[in-house]
C-alpha cells in the first residue's frame, strides 16, 4: 500500500506554481524525508497530503487511495504543522482533552505517560512551554491519535540540538515500534541519514529525486580524480562536479560494478552529500543535470 500517491499534482497560488507536475508514490512503513530548498514546495505538498490545501491540478490520495482530506483520511493521519501551532492559553492537559474530543481514537494513558516522561507540567499553559516542549507536546498529541501516517512539516527547524535529537528519537520509536509511516520535511540535512530510509527531493516545485535511501546510495558514487580530466566526463551521467584544486569530485549515477576511469578513485556516497549535490545541481550550469529519464527511473523504483 502507498501511504501517499500523487499524479500530476500541482498547486498554484495566484499565477505562481508552488508545486508542479508532481507524481510520486510513497510506500507504507517508511520514514520519508522530504528535502528541498526554501520555497521548493515542501509545505505545499504536505498541505495537499493532509487536505489543508486543494490541488490546482492532478490528484493526491493517501493510505491506499483515500482522497486527501476526506474523513477516512483524516481519521488516520496526524499532522504536526510548522511551528507546531497550539492553543497558547490552554494547559497541556486541556490540549490532551481537546484532541481526545476531536478524534475517534485517543490513547490517553500514552499521552499522559509521555507528558510525565518529558517533564511537562499538565497544568502549565501551552504558550508558556519552551519551544522543545511545545514541539514534543504537539508530537504527543499526534501520536496519541494512533495514526497510520504521521506528517511533520519542518518539525525540528526551530529546536536546539538536544531538543531536536529527543524529538526525532520519539518519531523513530513510533515508526519502529508501532509501524507508523512518517513523512517529514526538512531543510536540515545533517540528521537525515540516521532518520530517513526514503528520500524525496523537491526543487522549484518539481520532484527531482525520489527513492529508497539504500537504493539511491547504491546507484550513486563519487569519483575523485585530476581536475584537468573532469570535463571529459561532463557528457556522462554526472549529477554534480565539485572542483577542489588539483582534485575534482564527481557525483555520478553508477553502480558499484561500473568501470572506473584510469587514474580515478570511486567512493560510496553519503545521503547528505547526495542530497546536497542534487540541491546544487540546478544552478551548476557547467555540467548537464540529470535527465528526466533518470528521474523517472528513480520514481519507478519508489513504486
Amino acid at each position: 500500500m502507498n501511504v501517499v500517491e500523487a499524479r500530476g499534482l500541482g498547486k498554484r497560488y495566484g499565477s505562481t506554481w508552488a508545486l508542479r507536475d508532481c507524481s510520486l508514490a510513497i510506500p507504507a512503513g517508511h520514514v520519508v524525508a522530504l528535502v528541498g530548498p526554501n520555497g521548493a514546495g515542501k509545505s505545499t505538498l504536505l498541505n495537499l497530503v493532509v487536505g489543508l490545501a486543494a490541488p490546482s491540478a492532478g490528484i493526491v490520495t493517501v493510505l491506499g487511495g483515500r482522497p486527501a482530506g476526506s474523513p477516512a483520511a483524516l481519521d488516520n493521519i496526524a499532522f504536526v504543522a510548522q511551528d507546531t501551532p497550539l492553543y497558547g492559553n490552554l494547559s497541556a492537559a486541556d490540549m490532551l482533552h481537546l484532541t481526545r474530543n476531536l478524534n475517534r481514537r485517543f490513547d490517553q494513558p500514552y499521552a499522559q505517560a509521555r507528558l510525565t516522561e518529558l517533564g511537562i507540567p499538565p497544568r502549565r499553559r501551552a504558550g508558556k512551554l519552551s519551544g522543545g516542549q511545545q514541539a514534543q507536546l504537539a508530537l504527543t498529541l499526534a501520536l496519541a491519535r494512533r495514526p497510520r501516517l504521521l506528517v511533520l512539516d519542518e518539525p525540528v527547524a526551530m529546536l536546539d540540538p538536544v531538543a531536536r535529537h529527543d524529538f526525532m528519537a520519539t518519531v523513530l520509536s513510533a515508526a519502529a515500534e508501532d509501524g507508523v509511516s512518517v513523512v517529514l520535511s526538512s531543510h536540515v540535512l545533517a540528521e537525515l541519514e540516521r532518520v530517513a530510509d526514503h528520500l524525496i527531493l523537491l526543487s522549484r516545485g518539481r520532484v527531482q529525486v525520489a527513492g529508497d535511501v539504500d537504493d539511491l546510495l547504491a546507484r550513486h558514487r563519487v569519483l575523485t580524480g585530476p581536475t584537468a580530466e573532469a570535463d571529459r566526463y561532463a557528457q556522462g551521467p554526472v549529477v554534480h562536479l565539485r572542483r577542489g584544486g588539483a582534485q575534482a569530485h564527481l557525483l555520478v549515477r553508477a553502480g558499484a560494478d561500473d568501470p572506473v576511469p584510469p587514474g580515478w578513485e570511486a567512493h560510496p556516497v553519503g545521503l547528505e552529500e547526495l542530497a546536497l549535490a542534487y540541491l546544487r545541481e540546478p544552478d551548476a550550469g557547467a555540467l548537464p543535470g540529470p535527465d528526466r529519464s533518470g528521474n523517472t527511473v528513480l520514481t519507478e523504483v519508489a513504486k
Partner: protein
C-alpha cells in the same frame, strides 16, 4: 471479486462513524467559555441595573402617573425619560458588540495564529468542526439576547403605557419581541463570516461593526415600513398606537405637498398664519386649518396591532440571513485553500 473490493473501498471511503457532536460541544465550550463568560458578566451587570432602575420606575409610574394625572406623569417622564433613552441607545449597540467581539474572532483568531492547521487536520474534519463551533455559540448569544429583550420590554413598559413611546418606534422596535435575539444572531453570523474571509481579528472586528451598522440602518430606515402594505387614512386621529409611516396633503383628489418640510410651512404660513403660533391669531391646529381650505391630510401607517406580525417578519428574515451566513462560512472553510 473486483466488485467486492470496490464496494469495500467505497464503504471505507464513505468514512468512519464521525466524532459525536457532544464532544465537539465540549471543545467549543472550553475554547469560548471566557468570551461567553465576559458576555454573561457584561449583560448580567447591565440586567441588574435595568432590574433595579426598572423597579423604581414602575413604582413611580404606579404612584404618580396613575393617580396624579397628566401633570404628574409629565414629571415622571421628565425624570426617567433620559435614562430610558440612554439605555435603549446602549442596547442598540449590544448586538454589534457581540458580533465584533464574539463572532469575528471565532475563526479569525484560528487563521491568524495558525491553529487552524491543528484544528482542521483532526479526525472530526473541517466542516463538522466549524459547524460544531459556530452553532452552539450562536444559540447561546441569541438566547441571552432574547432573555434580555424580555427584561427590556418590562423595563420600558411604563413609557408605552403612559403613551410616551410606541412599540413601533425605531428606539424600541428592535430591542423588543423576537427582533433583538435575531439581530444578535445576525451580528454574530456577520462576524463569523467576516473573520473567515478576512482572517485577521482586528480588521474583521471593524468589518463586522460596519456591516452590522449598515444592515441595521437599512432595515430601520427603509425596510421595516414595507413589511406589510401600510394602511392609508384621512382620519386625523389614529386609533391605538400606530406607526405613521408618511403623511401628505391632497386637494381635489390630487397630491398637493408632503406633510413636512418647506412646502408645508409655506402653505400653512400662507393660508393659516394664526396656526403657526403667532400671538393673537387663531389657535386652530394646522391640519384642521388646512382642511378648512379644502386640503385633505392623508396618513399611511402601520396599526399597533401589526406589531407582532412585523416582529416575526423581521425575526424571520434575520434568522434566514443568519443561517445563510453561517452556511456560507462553513462553505468558505471547506473550500478554502490553505
Amino acid at each position: 471479486m473486483t466488485t467486492l473490493t470496490g464496494l469495500a473501498n467505497l464503504a471505507e471511503n464513505a468514512g468512519p462513524r464521525p466524532v459525536p457532536w457532544r464532544r465537539m460541544a465540549w471543545v467549543t465550550w472550553r475554547q469560548h467559555r471566557s468570551a461567553l463568560g465576559g458576555v454573561a458578566v457584561f449583560l448580567g451587570a447591565f440586567a441588574g441595573y435595568l432590574w433595579l432602575s426598572g423597579l423604581a420606575m414602575h413604582h413611580a409610574y404606579a404612584t404618580e402617573c396613575h393617580s396624579g394625572g397628566a401633570l404628574a406623569c409629565g414629571d415622571f417622564t421628565g425624570r426617567y425619560g433620559t435614562t430610558a433613552i440612554l439605555v435603549s441607545i446602549f442596547l442598540q449597540a449590544v448586538p454589534a458588540l457581540i458580533g465584533a467581539f464574539v463572532g469575528a474572532p471565532v475563526l479569525a483568531r484560528e487563521m491568524e495564529s495558525g491553529t487552524f492547521r491543528y484544528a482542521w487536520t483532526q479526525g472530526i474534519g473541517r466542516w463538522r468542526w466549524t459547524l460544531g463551533r459556530l452553532v452552539p455559540v450562536a444559540v447561546v448569544v441569541a438566547a441571552a439576547a432574547g432573555a434580555f429583550s424580555v427584561l427590556f420590554s418590562w423595563y420600558d413598559q411604563p413609557f408605552v403605557a403612559a403613551g410616551y413611546a410606541i412599540p413601533f418606534s425605531t428606539r424600541v422596535f428592535d430591542l423588543t419581541g423576537v427582533a433583538f435575539a435575531a439581530w444578535t444572531l445576525a451580528a454574530f453570523a456577520i462576524g463569523a463570516l467576516a473573520g473567515m474571509l478576512i482572517r485577521r481579528v482586528v480588521p474583521a472586528i471593524a468589518a463586522t461593526l460596519a456591516g452590522y451598522a449598515g444592515l441595521a440602518l437599512t432595515a430601520g430606515l427603509f425596510l421595516r415600513e414595507h413589511y406589510l402594505t401600510p394602511l392609508v387614512t384621512s382620519e386625523l386621529n389614529l386609533p391605538g398606537s400606530p406607526w405613521a409611516v408618511s403623511q401628505w396633503y391632497t386637494k381635489d383628489g390630487t397630491f398637493a405637498f408632503p406633510a413636512r418640510g418647506s412646502q408645508l410651512v409655506d402653505a400653512v404660513s400662507r393660508l393659516c398664519p394664526g396656526s403657526l403660533g403667532v400671538r393673537g391669531g387663531s389657535t386652530i391646529p394646522p391640519a384642521q386649518c388646512l382642511s378648512q381650505h379644502g386640503y385633505t391630510q392623508w396618513t399611511s401607517y402601520q396599526p399597533g396591532s401589526r406589531f407582532w406580525t412585523c416582529q416575526w417578519i423581521e425575526g424571520g428574515w434575520l434568522l434566514a440571513l443568519s443561517v445563510l451566513l453561517i452556511a456560507a462560512t462553513v462553505w468558505v472553510v471547506r473550500s478554502r485553500a490553505a
